[in-house]
Structures are given as C-alpha cells and as structure tokens.
Amino acid sequence: MADTREITVTVNGQAQTREVETRLNLADFLRHELEMTGTHVGCEHGVCGACTVLVDGAAVRSCLMLAVQADGHEVTSIEGLAAADGALHPVQEAFWKNHGLQCGFCTPGMVISVAALLRDNPDPSEREVREAISGNICRCTGYQPIVAAALDAAKTLRQGG
Amino acid sequence: MELKNSFTVAADVEAAWRVLLDVPRIAPCMPGAELTEAADGRHFKGNAKLRVGPVQLTFAGEAELTEVDEVSHTARLSAQGNDTKGRGAARAEVTFVLVAEDGHTRVDITTDLNLTGSVAQYGRASGLIDAIAGQIIADFAKNLEAQMVSEPGVEPAGAATEATPPAAAPADNSISGISLVLRALWAMIRGWFARNPNIKSG
C-alpha cells in the first residue's frame, strides 16, 4: 500500500488539509492536489527556479521539498502575492511595465524570488539583482528587462508604493 | 569501453584452460558478481553489483560462453544484465586467449563493456564510471590469476600483472601520493565487503 499521510499546509493564508503520498513533492501538491497551477515545474532537479515559492517566508525550490515536509508550515505562492482586491504587488506591476516576461513560464519563480530579495535587501545593486535571479532560468527575455523591473520595484517599495 | 589485461602463470595451458572454463569457479573472481544458476556448461544466470557514489546498481541477467575454441584456447563470455530498479543495463564481451610460453601460460583478457540507460547518461561521472569499471576488471584478472595459481601444479611465473584500464591511467602524482586508480580500488574493496555500504544522507 502507498505510504500516505494527512497534512495541513497554510497556503496564501488558507489552511489546506489533504491526505498525500509521502513521495509527492510540494510543487505537485500545490499544482495537482490544490489545483493552484500558478507555480510551475521546469526541471525537477532544483536548477531552473520556476517552482520557487516562499516557505515560512524563505524562497525555496518546491520541487526539492516533499509535501509532507510542509505540514504545519506557511507557503506563499504566486497566487498569494497580489492584494485581496486584485491590486498587483509592486514587483508584479514593475514586471508588467518593464516587459519583464514573455511566455510567463519562469515568471512565478522569478517574481517570488525578486519579492523575497527586495524584502531582505530594499536597495540592491544591479549585480545583486542579477545574482539573486541567477537561480531562475529564463529563455525568452534575456534577463535585462527583469533586472530593470526589479530595480524599478525596489524604488517604488522604498517610496512606500 | 575496451579494457585489456594480461598475466602469466607457471602452468601448462591445459591446466589454466580447465580453470578458465569452470565458470562457476571463476565467477566470484569478479567483485560483486554472484552466480545464481548454471544450467549447462555454457549458460549461466546471476547478478553483479556496481556502486558509483550514492548510486547502488545491481545488474541481474545472464552470461553465456558463446565461443570455446579448444585448439586456439580462446574463449568468449558474453554477459548482459538490467539494473533491478530500471536505471540502466550493462553488456560485456570478455575474450580470453591462453598462450603457451615455454611452459608458462599467458592469459590475455579483452573486455568490451558498455553501459546504457540513465546511469550511463551522467557526463560528470563518466570518467569515474570508466575508472571504477576498469578497476573491477583489473581486480577480476588478479583474482583469476590467484585461482589459476591455486590450481595444483601451477605457481605464479613472477610476471607482474599489468592492469591497463583505459581512461584514468594512473596519473603521475608526486603530491598526494595515491593514484586515482589505486584509491578507486581501495574504495571498491572497502565498498563491497562493508555490510550493505550505503550513503546515509544528502
């Protein structure tokens, strides 16, 4: 019989309880158990960064965590970044303004990583931004518009935007 | 990947040939190999372990003496097996040629070993897999020689065993003193005979 456990994970502020196979990774838990498909899976070996979510506020690869490891913890996924009324987070707004996305597949991981960066480092240099997103592969944009978006969002956030 | 090994024993070629054809007897010479079935003199079933870092492979399959030429004392053993957990397959053609040299017998072994499947598709470890496999074959030659030597009326002819595994020829290394191949050997022996060797975490 498959090894399963009942877990409760608070996702974007809402407690979600499911019984899951222990081999299920956190990305697939969000995408297929909760059908919150904003988090994307690009490589399943911890390099592309498309699956990046916040667990207890820390940006992590959700494909490298088992869902059972998130039991009793807080997860923030891309669906939880905008305000309740739908107003975009300053990082989302800046990505839109600076054409920081094209196909949108790396975007959830990219936006979460930039949001985590700016929370911990409100005034990063371009080099610090590029290092922070060096763990998020994008094949479409060539990164330059994303770096511009991150610096733009940093300015907005510093001005209390 | 092709490997060549040879050694000489003080025995007439017929005695050495008898040991060679006794596959159940020489199978244990291969580290990690285990014969489970010997249907007739020619067809055998068994498995062989290959450990590459944290990945423990067990190839289950069969071997066959596909060629036995009494006149030229040439024998060919073809073996192939699949990893029990589906990570790849191994295939080997081992050719033995016994040459009588003034009362002694030189045993030339040519091994053509190929790995396929996911375990063979990891570029960063490809150098290592060759070195480890090369070491296993060199080990097999040494153990085979020991078997032949223990045959009554046969002693070592004093010729050093030349093990010439291909990829990682022992690099000249005046600094750390231990060549890669020797260390791979030390690790292999320690690896095989420790109780269920296993990396504990990662």
């Binding site: 299920l24 975009l88 196909c103 949108g104 997103i133 060096s134 094949r139 990164y143 | 699949n82 570029g123």
Partner: protein
C-alpha cells in the same frame, strides 16, 4: 483617427493573467477522469527489438494500460509517421513510428507507453517493462557518416546519405580565376537545443458521440498538428481539434509533429478516458528535436582590396536518426548565403546525413545563424590575412541601398528569388559602431593590456529572410456589445501576438485594445493556419488583421453614413463610435451598427449589406521581407582560466516599422542572450556509443542573468514595401549575429597569440588549449 496604438510601447494584454499565476498551460489543465502517461524510451542509440514483455507493468496496481506500437490497433500498427515537408531532394525519407516497431535508432526514441492513475505510478511501471534489445553499431559523428565503413543508422539503409542541397549561382570558376587572393577556413558549428522552460505536453480527450477528438498541445503549429494527426488517423480535420493553450516558449522544436501527439490521443480513445502526458526535463534532452553539428569547409575569392568575388565550399549537416521535418533546417543553412554582401558567385553544397541521435529540426534562427556565421568568418579571415579593419572589409562589400531591391541569386524554399527589399546596411553598421564606441576601443584595449588584461572587440552583420508565407489569417467581428472579437491562426509562445494584433485592430476601428476579445491557436475557432516559425507572424498576421479590420471599418463607415445621413468621408471612428466629423453629438455606436447587421426575426438587414459586421483576411507579405542589422561585442578573456566575459554588447537593427518597440526590444535581447548561449555555453554531447551525456541543467549550460552583458539597442527603420504595415520579422534577429560577433572579439583579444577558433561553443578549456599551443609555438 483616435489614439495611435501601432508603434506605441503598449503594456502587454497577456501579462496580468501570467503575473498572478492564472496562465493556462497544458499541465495546468485537469479534466474529470484524467489519467497520466509515461513513455518508455530506447536506452540504445541503435538496436533491434526482439521482444517487449509488458505483463509485469500491466499488473501493477493503478495502471490502466501499457501499449506498444502493435497494441495501438490494427489500422495503425504498421503505419509510420508521415513526412511533414516532402521534397524530392530527400533520397531516404525515413520517418519513425509513434512507438518503435522492431528497430530503435536513437536514445530517447519512444518504445512503449504506460497510462496510470498518476505520473508516479506510470513511471513505477516503466521499470517493470522488459525489452530484449539486440544492440547494433551506431554512427554518432556526422563527419564520419558518409565514410564507406561507417555504421548504418538504419538496418534498411545502404548508407547514411539523406540528400544534398546546393546553392549555386554566378560564374564560380571565373570568380576564383580572377581572384587576387583565395583564403580558406574550416569550422564546426554546434547550435544546441530548445530548452523552453515549459517542456512539451499533450492532453487528449476523445468524444466520438460529441465533438470528436480534442487535443491540447504545447505546439507552435496547431494546424500542422491537426493535418498530420487527422492524416495518420484517417479522420476529417474538422473532427480533430488542436488547441495550443498558453505555451511556455517554443524556439523552433515545438513547431514539429511528435510521436506523443499521435500516441496520447490514440490511447485516450482506446481507454475512453482523457490522458495527459507531460515531458520531463530529462526526456526533453532526447525526445524533443534539437540542432547539433554542421561541419563547414569554405573558400573565399577576393581582390586585393578585400572585395569578395566568390564563395564556395562544402557542408556536412547532421540530421539525426530520422527526417521528420523535411530539409527545412538544411535549406535555411544555405538561403542566407552570401549574407549582407554583394557576392557575384556562390557554390556551396550541403550533404544531409543520418546519425543515431535525436532528429535535428530548427532552433531559433534555424540554419540562418549557421550561414551568417560562415559568411562573417570569411570576412574575418580576409581582414586578418590582408591586415584590414574588419568593419572596413564589410563596408567594401555591403549591398548598397541603391541596388535594392537586390536579388542575391539564391532561392527561397517556395522557389522565389531571395530579394533584399529595403535597408541601409552600411548606415546600420555605423550606428552600431557608434553605439559600441568602436573608435575608442583601441585605447580601452591598450589600457587593459597594461594591467595584463586582454580585451577584444568583434563585429558581425546579418540579413534575415522573415515572414515566410503563405498566410496567417485573422477574423475581426464587432459584437452588438461593442466589443471586438479577433480570431487568428497565429499561435503565441510568449511573443505577445495578442497585444501586437490588438494594437493594429484598435487603430483601424478607433477602439482600445481592452475592447478586444482575442482568441488564437485553436483550430476549432479559426479555419486555417500555418504556424509560428522563422520570425513570420508580424509580417503575416499583421497584414491580415490590418486588412480584416480595414474591411470592417469600411463597412461600418458606409453603414454609419447611411444611418446618420452623411457622406462616408465625413464619418470617423473613435472611442467606439462612428461620428460625423465636427458634430460630436451626431454618432452611432459600433455595437448598434453591429446590431443592424445581426437582427432577429422579422427585421431586414439594410440593403447592400450582408449579415454580421465582420471580415476575414488571409493577406500577408508579397515576398519575404529581409531584416538586417549589425552587432558589436566587447569581451575580456582571462588567459589564466580561459574564461570569456562579454563586457558590452551593442545592436543596431532594422526590422522595418515596429508595431510595439518594447516587444521588439524584448525579442532582440532574448535572441542575443540565446545567441550568447550558443557561442559560449550550450553543448549537448554524446559518447561514442550514442549515449547522451548531457541530460540535466547542471551540465547543459543555459545562459544565466549573472553572465550576460547589458545590451544597448538602436533602431533603424527601413519600412518593407512588401506589406501595408511596412513590417519585417525580428524573432530570430538577436540570435543570428551573436556567435560571429563574440568569436571575432575573442580572436581580437588573443591576437598576440594568433588564435583562430574553429569550433563553437567556445569553452575555457578549448581556449586555454589554443593559448598554450600558440605560446608553445611562440617559444620554439
């Protein structure tokens, strides 16, 4: 005419949805009763299959079916896939079976499929399938493929020769006879794979009593998939609906037709359940077509001033194990010759060969980067041998504006001549040189040399044939609500077609992009389509949406004139209404006009009008608009480690009028970074048994944010006369010139060592080898 959207930096309509996690990619779709599939793939580069035992796999709890080719049903069991692009030049037109039938010819080829309750269980079952392979010799190195003793990629083949293409025009012998100098160069080009962040995926649902077969696929060409799948199944195209939902990047390889796009629909039909298959990243390395190697051997004839008289040579093109996609890739490797230059005589032949590796089809730029790399290498060779400034050699050879439209002598795939429609190549280069401060480089180079650092600068100029026909149609319809429905065949993988086409339609109808309902890439919603390849959408869907919206505009103006009893010339469309110029309160809404042409029972349609305020157009470009540009790369080479860092990258480009400059720049920056990946990082290697060794992203090096330079861009605009919008394509413009610019810069940095590069991607180990060899030579 209202607010002008065409030409403005409009923020994209697609973004809010994608930024908040509400994209709809294939793997995001969950259908009731949906099962999951996993494929068993060949672990041998070449082998015959004696037997496949699926009994243990079928017995595993949670498995609903295990299929080999024979299990797919008698109608198709012996049926190989069809040739997508037939061409007489193909001498061995060998395509693969959806699931291998007796012989496998590359690692990754589909052998069997398991369908189960979950992907995890399906993968568990794969390990239980026993395949009795009989390994056969395999040919891996394309340069050895035509040797007499080379292993044959297929049991049935006499040799590995697929066919030969030749681009020959002008009097080549006269050119070489008259030459003051003949220089030669030989080099290998390795282009690398697709590696869109979204791997491929197929979801199929069959409803024989309802709307037939529906297939969601991460494809760039839904209509090509519909035609090929309907053809294979022997069904009417209308009963095979292909939908490309959000697609996470394509870059070429998602433009083909794959075995999984047959097998998944078939097993869904056989099991009576929706079935989803998502390619995982390791599969992507071998199951998705790619571009690997081309070996070029060229000679160039020139006069004493470096003016090119003729170009000749041979190319060996690796096609991989099968020929799924015709010879498109081989063809685009010759068409752009001779590049941006006047070359009176060309004679280059290209041999297409089989190897036991993943089939090769176009990756961003297709063969164009290869052809332009070849031409630019010969320019660099001339400059080096004659001691001329590389920019000067280009200046002396550029096609000049007064020669346009200029026919090079080469032919496009549809047989029409390659004709440079507009552009000032020399002025474009000068803009790039200014942007890069090319003049000031000598000083920068010497200052760095004083600190023991090696800087180098490299130039590359390119042309690109874009907008290949025949069409990409669009329907525009105004609804009674006043909203405008736009439907097109154009399939997007992130290029922003929704925004681009909405800008064009909004300007024609005096509405805002937000008023437009955009539907695309669904064969059930628009009758015919071609696909998104070769930077073609702007030059095809641009004109068709412009034309369709124009027809609707004309009808609306005529109807409004009648309604408002005014002359047609006095009516203007703005803010969603048709009004009499100068009499703002005399107007009728577009919605009301639409209602007049869509009445319910008992109401007449106005005379002279047909129902529904809509139009469909398949207008495109009258030929292939030729985009062009010049890139300048400045690099530093660390001669201790061999590392190359790109310090500065300048682009001057011309793709005619730009509908959305922000999105054009996005395509260029993304394209350049893809080109830098090809020049320095991306390499897929096989061992001599054909086992792929590069199967993860720790070893296949995609360009990351930290290694990329800031890319400065200046636009030149030479409107194309071939379509009313004056647009040309730009999707591949960034990728094409990157490798030649960077490699010229590396050679410039290492001029002291006399390094000549004959392979890319250039990695530090290869460079230190060249540096050490040059050093040793110098020491002798």
């Amino acid at each position: 005419m209202g607010v002008r959207y065409t030409g403005a930096q409009v923020q994209r309509m697609e973004d809010p949805r994608l930024l908040t996690g509400h994209g709809q990619y294939v793997d995001d779709m969950h259908l009731h009763g949906m099962l999951h599939a996993a494929f068993l793939r060949s672990s041998h580069a070449h082998a015959s299959i004696r037997a496949i035992d699926t009994s243990a796999a079928r017995a595993l709890d949670g498995v609903h079916g295990v299929f080999t080719q024979a299990d797919l049903g008698p109608a198709v069991a012996a049926k190989a896939m069809s040739q997508l692009y037939p061409a007489p030049v193909i001498k061995q037109d060998i395509t693969q079976f959806p699931l291998a039938s007796g012989e496998v010819c590359y690692v990754g080829e589909t052998v069997a499929v398991v369908v189960a309750d979950s992907r995890a269980i399906a993968e568990d079952a794969l390990a239980l399938i026993a395949v009795d392979y009989d390994p056969l010799p395999a040919i891996i190195d394309c340069r050895r493929a035509l040797d007499a003793d080379a292993p044959k990629a297929h049991l049935s083949s006499p040799d590995n020769f697929v066919g030969q293409l030749r681009s020959a025009f002008g009097d080549i012998d006269a050119a070489f006879a008259a030459a003051d100098h003949v220089f030669s160069a030989a080099f290998m080009q390795h282009r690398g794979g697709c590696h869109a962040m979204e791997t491929r995926g197929v979801l199929a649902r069959d409803d024989q009593y309802g709307d037939g077969l529906t297939v969601w696929s991460s494809t760039q060409c839904p209509y090509l998939v519909r035609r090929a799948l309907a053809n294979y199944l022997g069904e009417a195209e209308e009963r095979v609906r292909i939908i490309a939902p959000d697609v996470g990047g394509g870059f070429g390889p998602k433009a083909g037709f794959y075995p999984e796009e047959i097998v998944i629909p078939l097993v869904s039909r056989l099991l009576g359940r929706p079935v989803k298959w998502i390619e995982d990243r390791r599969e992507h390395f071998t199951a998705t077509t790619t571009q690997r190697d081309q070996q070029w051997d060229l000679e160039v004839a020139c006069d004493k001033d470096g003016k090119i008289l003729g170009l000749r040579g041979k190319v060996i093109h690796e096609n991989g194990a099968y020929v799924p996609y015709g010879v498109l890739l081989a063809f685009t490797s010759l068409v752009p010759l001779p590049g941006a230059y006047v070359v009176p005589a060309v004679d280059v032949s290209l041999d297409i060969v089989f190897t036991n590796t993943t089939p090769n089809t176009p990756v961003r730029g297709a063969g164009r980067p290869n052809a332009i790399y070849a031409v630019e290498r010969m320019i660099e060779t001339i400059a080096r041998e004659l001691g001329l400034d590389p920019a000067e050699v280009r200046r002396r050879n550029f096609v000049r504006p007064d020669q346009m439209p200029y026919e090079t002598g080469a032919l496009l795939r549809d047989g029409s001549p390659v004709r440079y429609d507009s552009g000032d190549y020399e002025a474009c280069m000068d803009q790039a040189l200014d942007l890069a401060d090319y003049a000031g480089f000598k000083a920068r180079q010497e200052a760095a040399r004083a600190q023991g650092r090696y800087l180098g600068i490299g130039v590359s100029a390119y042309i690109e044939d874009t907008g290949v026909g025949p069409y990409e149609g669009t329907t525009v319809r105004i609804e009674p609500s006043g909203k405008v429905l736009v439907r097109t065949g154009a399939a997007s993988q992130g290029q922003g077609h929704h925004t681009m086409i909405s800008q064009i339609v909004a300007d024609q109808l005096g509405v805002t992009p937000e008023d437009i309902i955009f539907e695309a890439a669904d064969t059930g919603k628009f009758p015919q389509g071609v696909g998104t390849i070769g930077s073609r959408v702007a030059a095809n869907a641009g004109p068709s949406s412009h034309d369709a919206a124009g027809q609707v505009r004309d009808t609306a103006l005529k109807l409004a004139a009648e309604t408002l009893e005014a002359a047609v010339e006095d009516i203007e469309l703005e803010d969603g209404v048709a009004r009499v110029k100068g009499a703002p309160d005399l107007f009728v809404t577009l919605g009301d006009l639409a209602l007049k042409l869509a009445p319910m029972s008992g109401v007449k349609v106005p005379a002279g009008f047909t129902p529904s305020l809509e139009a469909t157009s398949y207008a495109g470009s009258a030929g292939a608009p030729i985009a062009n540009g010049t890139n300048v790369a400045e690099v530093e080479v660390d001669i201790g480690t061999g590392e190359v860092r790109v310090l500065r990258y300048s682009v001057a480009h011309d793709c005619g009028n730009m509908i959305n400059p922000m999105m054009v720049e996005g395509q260029i920056i993304g394209g350049v970074v893809h080109g830098i990946g090809n020049a320095l990082f991306e390499r897929m290697i096989y061992d001599d048994q054909g086992q792929p060794l590069t199967t993860n992203y720790g070893e296949y090096l995609l360009p990351l944010a930290t290694e990329m330079p800031h890319i400065d861009i200046v636009h030149q605009v030479s409107p194309s006369p071939l379509n009313p919008l004056g647009v040309k394509g730009v999707g591949e413009g960034g990728t094409i010139p990157a490798a030649p610019a960077i490699i010229a810069a590396i050679e410039n940095a290492l001029a002291d060592f006399g390094v000549v590069i004959d392979y890319y991607p250039v990695d530090p180990q290869y460079l230190t080898g060249l540096i050490d060899a040059a050093g040793a030579q110098a020491a002798e």
